[in-house]
Amino acid sequence: MTEHPSTEPNPVALHNALERIWGTKPGWGRLAAVNHNVIGIRFMLTALVFFAIGGVLAMLIRTQLASSNSVFMDAETYGQVFTMHGTIMMFLFAIPFFEGMAIYLLPKLLGTRDLAFPRLGAYGYWCYLFGGMILIGALLAGVAPNSGWFMYTPLSSSVYTPGINSDVWLLGITFVEISALSAAVEIIVTIMKIRAPGMSIDRLPIFAWYMLVVATMMLIGFPPLILGSILLEAERAFDLPFFDPTRGGDPLLWQHLFWLFGHPEVYIIFLPAAGAISTILPVLAGTPLAGYRMIVAAIVAMAFLSFGLWVHHMYTVGIPHVALSFFSAASALVAVPTAIQIFAWLATLAHGRARFSIPMLHIFGFFFVFVIGGLTGVMLAMVPFDWQAHDTHFVVAHLHYVLVGGFIFPMLAMAYYWLPHLTGRQPVQHLSHAAFWMIFVGFNVTFFFMHLTGLRGMPRRIFEYPPEFGWEVLNFVSSMGSFVMAMGFALVALDFILVFKFGRPFRRNPWNAGTLEWAMPTPPPSYNFASIPRIGARADLLDPNAIGPHLAAGKGYLGIPRYDRMEVVGVDSVTGEPDQLVVLPRQTILPFLTALATGAFFLLMLFKFYWATPAALALVILCFCLWSRPGNASFEKDMVSIGLGETVPVHIQSAAPPSYLAMVLTLIGDATLYISLLFGCLFLWISAPNWPPQDLPRPDVISLMGAAALVALSSVGNRMARKSARMSLAGNMVSLAAHLASTALFVSFASDLTPSASSHAAVASLFATFVYVVLHSVAGLVFSTHAIWRDLGNHDRALQDLDLRIGGLWHDFTAGAAFAAAGFCLLLDSLVKTGGA
């Protein structure tokens, strides 16, 4: 325990004390790392390794297509290579890279020491790594996914892809998406609750606004993909015919679920990069960002609009005119908020004096490439043009202009900009210019000519073409350009190595920026700030050169380590005034072990050892339960000092602790998945052939409503437990018993459907809905059992209250889901009987 010193803290002693608390231990201790610096860098480095693998696959594709009738690869190998190229670049590189960047940067920009849930970040990283390894392992073994990165059914169904190729994608990507969802929750809670005092919502650094919007989009956008993957895997593994038109399923259901994720995904990738530009560009222009408020409105509008245009990937499937008009209009409209940002950046440049450094060069690369990609996007948003260009290389060129322009060039700009922060060294810039021009020229040669290849009719995904079609010269030019671009990336890698070895050391803030990440030593210490600042202006208009020494001397908040605890200040989400002291959990190997158990579950599914999966799932739950073991830290019951004369309660006593918000967000993501499931089933009723089924077995109304009422009883028990300490045990017992009974009933409903679940998609839909409720009820059992364990262990009442409040959210949600399942069952039955008439 570190004693309270009575005199001014010595900065060196303070550094040593904080480093001992926050630092990651060497050797095996690295497996227990939870620090955001370590996790963020791991994410970024791992993503770059995947980027290199994806890049090599791209070179293989271009080698194959460089000449007509090429024999370099056969169709099967080519299928695996182009599928893995897309999958790696989208799921294993682009999203994880910006997650890593956000994990590394956000606490620094927000003026705090770590993210809200360090263990969740570590768990997300291990899930990402293990999921990625499954995919790469499959590639090396020659059983990689081969149905395209969008896995369209029926090509990816077991009839046409009987091996494990599609299973690898469905299970591997779902595993990786756990990390994306955990990152989304962590980022939102951190931005809302864990920041420097005084940083009201209007003073957030612009990058935080971008990440708040992106994380919210991830929370809503990823569940439909996860649901689609689960349903397709259920079809492949258990013959539940959600996508089989001969049994009431519909391949279009997959397309809807995939693109509900897939289109917002483009903006999920672009917006963090745009956030980085909005941070970097004003610094390099030497003037504040123009139109801060307008940009915030633009990115929020963009987020909403991006969810209203998924069908523009499906114009050719036969959609009525009026529906096409909704999606076409939204697709064109989304260009407006994008343009607002671009004009704001141009205005910023016009107001300032731009420094033509390497990051700025890459920003200009972004402007050129992204604007072209945006314009071809507007072309593709127009239905008549899309019908002509659909599934041609024009679309391939467009998406690369958007994604490389919207992500790779900004990524390189931010890499050069923040490299001094990561390494403590400035670039020497001997290779940087050559690398930029090779990438820029190589990229445009590759993909500009690909527009023409597409307009001349070359379809996507073909592995060979005859010479008489006239595509060979254009393809050869594209292939040459791609190799120039690849050499440019190799030069960037070499340039970075040179910076690490020979870069020039600097003291502080080499770009003269106004953001807080420069108010700390570089490379940053594990705790970021020796004490936490109070912010008196917008967080990108500060003076890190003055703030840094002040904080290093321990003159801000929490400048005195206490009880060897990892402490940060929690604030009101709008005003930014301190409202709690958040005590973070210490380093632990549990996230690693939990991810291993999760990986075991997915591997057992992949290799079809279904009988063993319940044991793996139980192991995952057990590991998560171990996370809540009481540590050595004890919590004060009274208000505690955070320095500068202010006192606040510890987070477990607070009205709005981070964990409560995290559960609300988790349930929002969960609800999105459930709503997608119910709407998906109703979509089948509307659009799938071979409806209605001849028979829809279902439980009787009384049993159904009784089972749902039992789930609701668990909420009543939870409320009893929260009412008083005396009632706590009894209430939690009621909750436990209600969940046990409801689980048994819903399991019996699902079991009764099992014999006929593969006969028709309607029965399979009911089965999936009941299984959803069963899984939630089982999780409710875990919450209730945990609450009883707290009761019997005589734990801190404040801690129990917080657990009960969080558990209460889960019980209420499960009750709502159970009633919705009952209602859905009756509705489906009525539609089947009456044909909807």
Binding site: D202, V296, F326, A330
Partner: protein
């Protein structure tokens, strides 16, 4: 749900609701063949219903746009409140325009023919 951030984005939540309702209504109506049913039956034909949904949405967004809230009690809160009100106003105008622009097709485009 009185959180200022929720109120800030409320107009676009309404836009999302209109989008879902209009698309679901159109798809259901076409699937059930309501376009061909005589208007004298208890069911309305889809076009007036779609127009009514869009109209109700426009009125809701306009009403939200005109609604001003003043909650600040000190200078700092006033600054934050002005910022949020400003973003809310931009978003309300954008949502109103987006509603008209995206759904105007319900007035004349064929409802069920691809």
């Amino acid at each position: 749900m009185r959180h200022p951030l929720f109120l800030m984005i409320l107009t676009f939540i309404v836009w999302s609701g209109i989008f879902l309702s209009v698309y679901a209504m159109q798809a259901t109506a076409c699937s059930m063949g309501w376009e061909t049913i005589d208007g004298a039956t208890w069911r309305l034909s889809p076009r007036p219903v779609l127009i009514a949904i869009v109209g109700a949405g426009v009125i809701s967004i306009a009403a939200l746009m005109l609604r001003h809230r003043k909650t600040a009690s000190n200078a700092s809160e006033e600054r934050t409140s002005v910022f949020l009100e400003g973003v809310r106003a931009y978003l309300a105008v954008a949502a109103l325009f987006a509603t008209g622009f995206c759904f105007v097709g319900v007035l004349w485009l064929t409802i069920c023919s691809p």
